[in-house]
C-alpha cells in the first residue's frame, strides 16, 4: 500500500475503482504516513480518523472514491470550523458546516484525512507564520513551503496525500506549488466550489487543486468545478512573454529554467513565442494587494484589531494597523487599475493563447528570514511575490504553476501560465504537454524525505 500512497491521485483512484486496492487500507496507510512524516513538515494540523472512516463508509462511487485528500484550514467541515491558521478570529467565530469544497469532495467519494496548515489569516505568501507553527518545505525543511496554502503544498510534496484543496486570493495556491515543486491551478474566478468561505463577497479568491501533475489537477479540479475538465492536445499555441521585471528581475536560475521550459513547450506543441505587454502592469503588485486585502479584511475594524492578543503574530497585529491608515484613494485607484488590466488582457488574449513568466522570482526563502535576493535588491518574499501572481486574481483569469527545474540548492522552480477566462483546460493541456516533453522529470521528482528507502 505504501507504493500506491506514493502514486498520483489518478493512480490511486484507478486502483481503488478497479478493485486493485482496498480503500480502507489506503486510508490507514495515509494516516500512518501522516503520523510518521508530518512532524518533519507540519503540513497537517488536524486529523480525525473516525470521521475519515465514516466518510469512506458513506462514500459514493465517484471519481475520487476512496482516495485520501487534505483540505486547507480555510473552509468549515461538518465537524470542524476553520481556524485560518490563526489563534484568534478577526470576525465572528465561524461554525462547522458543509462548505462547497467539502461537499464536492464528499460527492466525489474522496476521503478527507486531514486539515492542512496555512499562513496566519491567509495573509502571507511564505507559510512561515501560523498559530500551528510554520509548515516546512519538504525539499528543505529550513525553507518556506509558500503560502498561504502552505499545508496543502507541503502535504502533497511530502507524499502525505496526493491531492489537496487550496485557496488562491493573491497567488496562494501558486506560491506553494512553485516552492514545493507541485502543479497548482488557480481557476477562473467563480468556476470552483467556494460556498461557506469566510469572505462570501470575494471577487478574487478561488478554491483550487494542488497536486503533483496536471492530470491530477484535472481530476481534482473537475471535482471542485462540478464538471469534467476534458483534455486536448495543444497545437500551435501562441505563447506571450512579457518583457521587463516579470522575467528580468528574477533569480538567474529561475529565469533560465523558465525560459528553457517555454522553449520546450514551444517545440513540443509547434507553437510560437512573442513578446507582448498589457496596460497597468506597474500597478499590479499594489493593486492586487489592496483589492484582495480590502475584501479579505473587511471585518478587521479598529475595535476588533484592538482586541487581538499576543497570540496573534506581531506582523499581523502591526500590518492590520497599517492597513487602517492606507488612503482610501488608493483603493479607488486599485479598482481602476483592475478595469484597466482586465480590458488590456481581453485585447491581448485575442492575439495570444497563454502568457508565461516565473511563478515566483526566486526559490523558497529561509523560514528564519523569508527574504529573496533579486537583481534589483533584497526584498521580503511577501513583497516580491504578488508582482508575479497578483494579475490572475485581479483580472479573474485562470493561472497554473508547474515545476520546471531545480535550483543549484536543490529547490524547485515554477513556471506560471495564464489563459483567458474560462480556458482552465487549456492550461492543463499545456502543462501536460510540457510534462511529456520533459519526460515527467520535474513532476515525478521527489524531495529527499519522500524518496523510497
Amino acid at each position: 500500500m505504501t507504493e500506491l500512497l506514493d502514486g498520483t491521485l489518478t493512480e490511486q483512484a484507478a486502483a481503488v475503482a478497479g478493485g486493485d486496492a482496498d480503500p480502507s487500507a489506503l486510508l490507514d496507510a495515509a494516516l500512518a504516513r501522516i503520523e510518521e512524516r508530518n512532524p518533519s513538515v507540519n503540513a497537517i494540523v488536524d486529523t480525525f480518523p473516525e470521521r475519515s472512516r465514516q466518510m469512506l463508509a458513506e462514500a459514493p462511487r465517484g471519481p475520487l472514491y476512496g482516495v485520501p485528500v487534505a483540505i486547507k484550514d480555510e473552509w468549515p467541515l461538518p465537524w470542524r470550523a476553520e481556524r485560518l491558521g490563526a489563534a484568534e478570529y478577526l470576525g465572528p467565530a465561524p461554525r462547522p458546516g458543509e462548505s462547497g469544497p467539502y461537499r464536492a469532495l464528499h460527492d466525489a467519494g474522496a476521503v478527507i484525512v486531514g486539515v492542512a496548515n496555512m499562513h496566519e489569516y491567509g495573509a502571507g505568501s511564505t507559510g512561515h507564520i501560523s498559530a500551528f507553527g510554520p509548515a516546512r518545505n519538504p525539499w528543505n525543511t529550513d525553507r518556506c513551503p509558500g503560502g498561504s496554502s502552505s499545508g496543502p503544498g507541503a502535504a502533497v510534496a511530502a507524499r502525505l496525500v496526493s491531492g489537496a484543496v487550496g485557496a488562491d486570493g493573491i497567488g496562494s495556491i501558486r506560491y506553494p506549488a512553485a516552492y514545493c515543486g507541485l502543479t497548482g491551478l488557480k481557476p477562473t474566478f467563480g468556476r470552483s466550489a467556494m460556498q461557506g468561505h469566510h469572505v462570501p463577497s470575494t471577487t478574487t479568491i478561488v478554491s483550487g487543486p494542488m497536486c503533483r501533475d496536471a492530470a491530477d489537477c484535472r481530476l481534482l479540479g473537475g471535482v471542485l468545478f462540478g464538471s469534467e475538465l476534458t483534455a486536448s492536445e495543444p497545437r500551435g499555441l501562441r505563447i506571450g512573454v512579457v518583457p521587463g521585471e516579470l522575467w528580468d528581475d528574477c533569480d538567474p536560475e529561475v529565469n533560465a529554467a523558465c525560459r528553457q521550459a517555454v522553449e520546450i513547450l514551444r517545440e513540443a506543441s509547434e507553437s510560437t513565442v512573442a513578446e507582448v505587454d498589457f496596460a497597468g502592469r506597474e500597478h499590479v503588485l499594489i493593486s492586487s494587494i489592496l483589492v484582495g486585502s480590502t475584501e479579505e479584511l473587511a471585518v478587521a475594524t479598529p475595535k476588533r484589531v484592538a482586541g487581538l492578543g499576543d497570540d496573534v503574530s506581531l506582523i499581523a497585529r502591526a500590518l492590520l494597523r497599517y492597513r487602517l491608515l492606507i488612503p482610501a484613494a488608493t483603493i479607488a485607484k486599485s479598482v481602476r487599475v483592475r478595469s484597466l488590466v482586465r480590458r488590456s488582457l481581453a485585447e491581448l488574449f485575442e492575439r495570444v493563447d497563454v502568457l508565461a513568466w516565473p511563478t515566483v522570482a526566486a526559490p523558497a526563502p529561509p523560514l528564519e528570514n523569508p527574504t529573496v535576493n533579486l537583481p534589483s535588491g533584497a526584498y521580503p518574499a511577501d513583497y516580491a511575490n504578488p508582482r508575479q501572481a497578483g494579475l490572475a486574481n485581479l483580472a479573474g483569469v485562470p493561472a497554473i504553476s508547474l515545476p520546471v527545474g531545480l535550483s543549484s540548492e536543490g529547490l524547485p522552480i515554477g513556471l506560471q501560465l495564464l489563459a483567458p477566462w474560462g480556458r482552465d483546460e487549456l492550461l492543463l493541456d499545456a502543462a501536460e504537454a510540457l510534462e511529456r516533453a520533459n519526460g515527467r522529470q520535474w513532476v515525478d521528482a521527489a524531495p529527499p524525505l519522500a524518496r523510497p528507502g
Partner: protein, 77 residues
C-alpha cells in the same frame, strides 16, 4: 498588506520618524494603540510600500471607465 517587512529600501531616519508619528496619531484617532515593535513593523512596511502607493496615487487613470457590477468570471463587456 501581506509583507513581513524585514528589509527595506533606505528611507531616511526623519521619514521613518514621520511615519511613526503619523501612525501613532492616526491609530489614536481610531482608538488603537501600537507598541514600539508594531510601530517598527509599520515603518518598515511603509518604506516598502510607500513608493508603489505614491506611484499609484500619481497614475493618470481618470480615463479608465469603471466596470460597475463586473463579473470577474468573464472578460469585460
Amino acid at each position: 498588506m501581506t509583507a513581513a517587512p524585514e528589509q527595506g529600501g533606505g528611507a531616511k531616519a526623519g521619514e521613518a520618524d514621520a511615519v511613526g508619528r503619523f501612525a501613532r496619531a492616526g491609530l489614536e484617532l481610531l482608538g488603537l494603540e501600537a507598541d514600539e515593535a508594531e510601530i517598527a513593523v509599520i515603518e518598515a512596511a511603509d518604506r516598502l510600500y510607500r513608493p508603489v502607493i505614491e506611484r499609484l496615487l500619481e497614475a493618470e487613470l481618470d480615463g479608465v471607465d469603471p466596470e460597475p457590477g463586473a463579473d470577474m468570471s468573464r472578460p469585460p463587456a
